[in-house]
């Protein structure tokens, strides 16, 4: 009968060995620089290049921030789910680090989405909030994010916590389209102000939007790597603490 080797010392392959401060220094640098330049270009485009909206005026420019952030909020959740599935199959905690990093990032972007959406709604329709399908689903996604972060926080840094998070993410991502649809159906019975840009969009607007989306995505990747490093170091710190106690 073979006995399982349960090591209480910290040296796990691949983590304790390279004690450099950050991994992927080159990738980080590249992404960071790209983000910086991209941001500058994007901001120039948003404020100077894109045309002023005839109906909504200057506040319409929030659109170029609001949409990418919503996209990142959704992307972030997708990454959490994929990383969660990865963890369930491989039990490699690095997947979990990605999941936690993306969850924190995504939560921030969703919060910003809600804030920008709210401001936009106020300037356009005069109300801080409107129960349209998109904003409502975003709000619910925000709650799911917060629930995820709370769950991970309460359960600590354990295998059980990582698995629970993964399950939550999987359920969440399947539910989001259903939530959207149901709110949509409900809304057709209560037509309300909609936050958005109606009609066809001129090419300069589309271009600005695309640039903004790309830049923000690059920025997201950059931030993700940084947060991943943070997660890794927190995990190492926890293990070190465990051996001391």
């Amino acid at each position: 009968m073979a006995l399982a080797r349960k090591e209480t010392t910290i040296e796990q392959p691949g983590v304790g060995t390279k004690q450099r401060g950050t991994r992927f220094p080159v990738v980080s640098l590249v992404l960071g620089t790209l983000s910086l330049i991209g941001m500058m270009v994007s901001i120039w485009m948003i404020f100077l290049y894109a045309p002023t909206d005839a109906v909504q005026g200057q506040p319409q420019r929030i659109f170029y921030f609001h949409v990418p952030m919503a996209w990142l909020g959704l992307l972030g959740f997708g990454v959490v789910t994929v990383a969660g599935i990865g963890y369930l199959r491989k039990r490699d905690e690095r997947w979990d680090w990605v999941a936690r990093a993306s969850a924190e990032l995504g939560a921030v972007f969703i919060t910003l989405t809600l804030i920008t959406g709210s401001i936009w709604g106020k300037t356009t329709w005069g109300t801080w909030w409107t129960w349209d399908a998109r904003l409502t689903t975003t709000l619910i996604l925000w709650f799911i994010y917060i629930g995820y972060l709370m769950l991970r926080s309460y359960m600590g840094r354990t295998h059980a916590s990582a698995r629970a998070g993964a399950v939550l993410a999987i359920i969440g991502i399947i539910d989001v389209p259903i939530i959207y649809e149901s709110v949509n159906w409900w809304r057709t019975l209560h037509p309300a102000a909609e936050v958005g840009v109606p009609g066809a969009l001129p090419p300069s607007v589309v271009l600005t939007l695309m640039v903004s989306l790309t830049v923000f995505t690059v920025f997201y990747c950059f931030l993700l790597i940084q947060l991943y490093q943070l997660q890794r170091m927190q995990a190492v710190a926890q293990r070190l603490r465990a051996t001391i106690e």
């Binding site: 009968m1 073979a2 006995l3 399982a4 080797r5 349960k6 090591e7 209480t8 010392t9």
Partner: protein, 202 residues
């Protein structure tokens, strides 16, 4: 086999891994030809586990507890088997009592009955002597003997060196998460073992 070690050396964790309750972080474990991670359910069928907690349902009677676990382990003719084991552990008169009302020693004996219900090949016992009185300990020894005679294997942890030497044909000691000592008990004597134990504990 008897397993010794300081508290926190990983004895209980090891047993729990073998009982397929938790998964090992590294390495593979095979029991009876079944890999613990891939065929966990098969492993569970072969293993009986007794630990500090009796793993019984307080609101159910002794008999109902055994009946339930008998069904869970797909035991043939669960009622008869349950009655037989209750008799064996000396709890036949208490068959209708709630498990929560049993004394510590009685609960421990019922837990033993539960572990033996499905005639496991591997019996895992985590410090089974705690909570048992003289009579209970004698019963434990008899049951272990019977189990071994039927061809089963036993792995139990204990702090009691004498009992370890008496009941097992192999002794192992865990220290800082590794197996620090392993010997057949054939020619061993208490003094030598005690010394080795002190070494490991340090």
């Amino acid at each position: 086999m008897a397993l010794l070690g300081a508290n926190g050396s990983g004895k209980t964790t090891l047993l729990r891994i073998l009982a397929a309750l938790i998964k090992p972080d590294t390495g593979t474990v095979c029991i009876g030809g079944w890999d613990i991670e891939r065929d966990a359910q098969q492993v569970r069928r072969l293993v009986g586990f007794v630990t500090h907690q009796p793993y019984l349902y307080d609101e159910l009677t002794a008999l109902e507890n055994l009946l339930f676990f008998g069904r869970m382990y797909a035991v043939k003719r669960p009622r008869e088997r349950a009655a037989e084991l209750l008799q064996r552990v000396g709890l036949a008169k208490r068959a209708g009592e709630r498990a929560g009302a049993l004394s510590r020693g009685q609960a421990q004996r019922l837990a033993l009955a539960r572990a033996l219900l499905h005639s496991p090949q591997l019996l895992l016992l985590d410090e089974p002597d705690t909570g048992l009185d003289e009579e209970g300990n004698a019963l434990l020894e008899t049951l272990l003997q019977e189990h071994i005679e039927r061809g089963g294997t036993t792995l139990f942890t204990t702090h009691n060196l004498e009992r370890a030497l008496k009941l097992s044909d192999r002794i192992g000691m865990l220290g800082s998460g590794r197996v620090a000592y392993q010997q057949e008990t054939g020619g061993l004597e208490l003094g030598g073992v005690r010394q080795a134990y002190q070494e490991v504990l340090r």
